[in-house]
């Protein structure tokens, strides 16, 4: 099963440290040395604030990704169990943006790359679980209130298993009561 990062609105305080952590992780330390306008500030998760909820929204790394199915140039791939966009091959058609039911993909300009007419390339952008960095998702690490969790197969099993046991315990109480009747 694929892993994904899940935000908890009960813990999130809307501070957006996750967004900054995401950009720093993907740009590397050079971000503090280069021209402030010479890098991509494209966080791969987005803080959503409604009247009742504050939480960052990002890719769910679906088992059968709608984005991957919709991509006409096959530039969305599964790498190390993460659904990843190859932005070098992306043609910017927005099919994946349309297909994703979570709004987890946005379109961003890619500094330093140009189209034939000289304008900047615009490509799809989404969470890649920080694959290849070896540190795990930066957003999870930097969150000051630990509002983000990396849900892997084990974690999901643990959550579901706890619920099944609780359900069984409740059913036992019910069955015992019925026997008394």
């Amino acid at each position: 099963m694929r892993k994904f990062v899940k935000g908890n609105p009960d813990l999130c305080i809307g501070c957006r440290t996750c967004m900054i952590g995401c950009v720093v992780e993907h740009e590397g330390r050079r971000i503090f040395e280069i021209d402030p306008d010479g890098y991509d500030f494209n966080p791969r998760l987005h803080m959503v604030k409604t009247a009742k909820i504050s939480v960052p929204v990002q890719c769910k790394h679906c088992e059968n990704p709608a984005c991957m199915a919709a991509c006409p140039v096959n530039c969305i791939k599964v790498i190390n169990d993460a659904v990843v966009i190859d932005t070098d091959s992306c043609i910017g058609c927005k099919s994946c943006v349309q297909a994703c039911p979570f709004g987890a993909i946005d379109m961003v300009s890619k500094i330093g790359t140009q189209q034939a007419d000289g304008s900047m390339r615009v490509v799809a952008n989404k969470c890649d679980l920080c694959v290849g960095t070896g540190n795990g998702p930066a957003c999870v690490r930097v969150c000051p209130t630990s509002a983000l969790t990396l849900v892997d197969e084990e974690k999901l099993k643990e959550v579901v298993c706890d619920k099944r046991v609780a359900t069984a315990n409740a059913a036992k109480v019910f069955a015992d009561a019925k026997e008394v009747e």
Partner: protein, 184 residues
């Protein structure tokens, strides 16, 4: 006639022995037509994927399955609208499901699992050859003759189809009788 409330199967942990007959029957019934499971020995060519899940605690065991909630958290969580209602029951559209796992986390009972599905005796694949995995949960054997297979096969009669509609009616009548007896 459509039901006012959905029905669901509930197990009795005081009767269940943990034999898994329900899981196997569930898998067999749901994969008969698509994957040719069940007609002869050796017909199972895909992993066994039930829609109810035997759970063992220290003291007892029972299968856990969907309660077909009236305000279903799984249905409310699904952004893809792949979970819908049919005759009051909560059903997963496995064609639409993208395997995002929101429903798994939303369900308070642990009644949903993400499992592969078969097609013509083989595991269904995506275009990149990855296995298709979808939300799998009890559909009350909606298109299967005889109703829920798990209830039918349980050797200990530990499973019961709970029909709140009939249950409420029966209880109402009993209560009315009680009120008649206790009238003043």
């Amino acid at each position: 006639m459509t039901n006012k409330y959905s029905c669901y199967v509930l197990a009795d942990p005081n009767k269940c022995t943990g034999c898994k007959a329900c899981e196997l029957a569930c898998f067999a019934e749901h994969n008969k037509s698509n994957n040719g499971v069940g007609y002869t020995v050796g017909t199972v060519t895909i992993p066994v994927t039930p829609k109810l899940y035997l759970t063992k605690t220290k003291a007892y065991c029972m299968p856990i399955q969907c309660r077909h909630c009236e305000d279903a958290p799984c249905l409310n969580a699904c952004q893809k609208h792949a979970i819908y209602r049919e005759n009051s029951q909560v059903i997963v559209d496995q064609e639409k499901c993208i395997g995002c796992k929101d429903c798994v986390l939303a369900c308070p009972f642990g009644a949903i699992a993400i499992l592969p599905i078969g097609e013509k005796g083989k595991l269904k694949l995506q275009k990149d050859r990855e296995v298709v995995k979808v939300a799998s949960k009890c559909d009350l054997c909606k298109d299967i003759e005889g109703g829920p297979a798990c209830v039918r096969v349980c050797p200990n009669d530990a499973l019961e189809l709970v029909d709140a509609n009939a249950d409420i009616e029966a209880k109402n009548i009993k209560t009315a009788e009680g009120l008649y007896v206790s009238r003043i």
